[in-house]
């Protein structure tokens, strides 16, 4: 997906959030935002991919701020909350319900100041809605035939619900080789390979890195190891907006996008209302 007109203001607003997370010093924040204003044009052209080029810009901002992980504290809180909610909902049993919970997990703000119970209720409420586009039967059929599944996670916190879904996939399709990929290092609130290991993914699947810290899975920045795996996977489950942004233009029918359309550009691109939950096979 190429940028839409809203992506530029959204990226600048996210950059402001990064500087706010990184430092209390308003003068430093100002220097960082002026730096950003000067670099913006370099990254945003009409054919930019928002997650990739926004991500590259954010990494420059991290360097400028001298802060390798401004969302560190936020992620620790999210992880704690998500873990305790996931412990409550583990016994979902049904794979389709677990799939919906994994999508719903993408959209909950685990850092807000209310407790696990309210978050759990919100999550169940979201997961009880119909998917606006539901190609989950097709996904399960493809998994039945597949030898190798590559599962691309998105955010911290959310991965605890991915884990429940993956455990049910493994129970249903025991012969399947499951690889779970996350970022090489911290970028906004995305999960890293380290986060996956901390969440015990190495016990249920093979954990690999996309080869870069950029959001989504931009193949032009991926490691050779990731690219080899990407090529030989029979099914690819791609969670969240950034994975959609970086992979939707491939026209690769092995990919299933599981996400909530949180912004206008994504909902315009998918032709669904804002807020819709989808499990959609990539056009090919």
């Amino acid at each position: 997906m190429k940028i839409h007109y809203e992506c530029i203001a959204c990226t600048v607003a996210q950059a402001q959030k990064i500087t706010e997370m990184s430092t209390e010093d308003v003068e430093m924040r100002k220097r960082a935002m002026v730096f950003l204003a000067n670099r913006l044009g370099e990254f945003f052209r009409e054919d930019s991919v928002p997650a990739t080029d926004g991500g590259r810009l954010f990494l420059e901002l991290y360097d400028f701020l001298g802060d390798d992980d401004p969302f560190g504290e936020y992620k620790r809180i999210s992880t704690g909350l998500a873990r305790s909610v996931a412990a409550e909902v583990r016994r979902v049993g049904d794979i389709k319900r677990a799939l919906k919970l994994a999508i719903a997990g993408n959209t909950i703000d685990f850092a807000v100041s209310y407790g696990p119970k309210k978050i759990g209720n919100d999550l169940f409420d979201l997961a009880s809605r119909e998917l606006y586009i539901d190609q989950s039967d097709e996904l399960l059929m493809e998994l039945e035939r597949a030898k190798t599944l590559l599962y691309l996670v998105d955010n911290c916190g959310e991965i605890y619900f991915d884990r429940i879904f993956i455990e049910l996939i493994r129970r249903e399709f025991p012969a399947l080789d499951v690889y779970v990929a996350a970022k090489e290092g911290p970028i906004i609130n995305d999960a890293t390979v380290e986060d996956l290991r901390e969440a015990g993914f190495d016990k249920i699947a093979r954990v690999i890195s996309t080869g870069s810290r950029l959001p989504g899975a931009p193949l032009e920045y991926a490691s050779p190891e990731f690219l080899r795996l990407f090529e030989r996977a029979d099914v690819i489950i791609a969670k969240g907006q950034a994975n959609f942004e970086t992979l939707s233009d491939l026209g690769d029918g092995r990919i299933f996008f599981l996400l909530r359309a949180k912004c206008s550009p994504i909902s315009r691109e998918l032709g669904v209302p804002k807020g819709a939950l989808v499990c959609m096979r990539s056009k090919f």
Copy 2:
């Protein structure tokens, strides 16, 4: 006032609103926002004045869009609504109450879809609050001694409440020469000299232009005529945030700022809570 860290994201968000007001064509909006991303660094440095440099950037965006007044329709609606509300509240009688209504008029969104009655109620509600900083006695004392008042208006709509205040100033201080200044041409929702004439200001005062279309009254872009008047005025009433941004660094005690602190940078600069109404003499 120099930019604060929030001014950059706010300017980009306003630029997006300008493109949305100007065209329905999402491709054109995208080209305009990419253009903006490329020009942003040119205008935002650490010593930029948000109203001035943001305004210069907006005028470039107007050129790019080929649209001389993207807020035209918005301003027509505001003007219609404000005019009918002002007709209701004309009989305020008391000059201090008129002063507060003029400040409150700066903060009402006249374009929202509810009618004049609700807007009138909101306005009275705001105007019934205490001013957070109230140097209106000092202002009236200075007006008593003054020969010439320069009154700098801010937005369309709001000027109908400025007019009521100015009429009461004239009744109270009949010997005073009153000049009312607005922009030379359209910029966002600011009032122009043409808007002042349409609102009948030429019947109660002398109407002049600041000499530029930029928000506020940036003296480095003012006309010689405006500068002469600015120099010889005994009291200057400056409405709204942009006039504060462009004049606060002068340290000129003739200036009284009448505004509502609508954003964090302004409230931080003034040392007042966000949302506070103030009538404050410039530090000198």
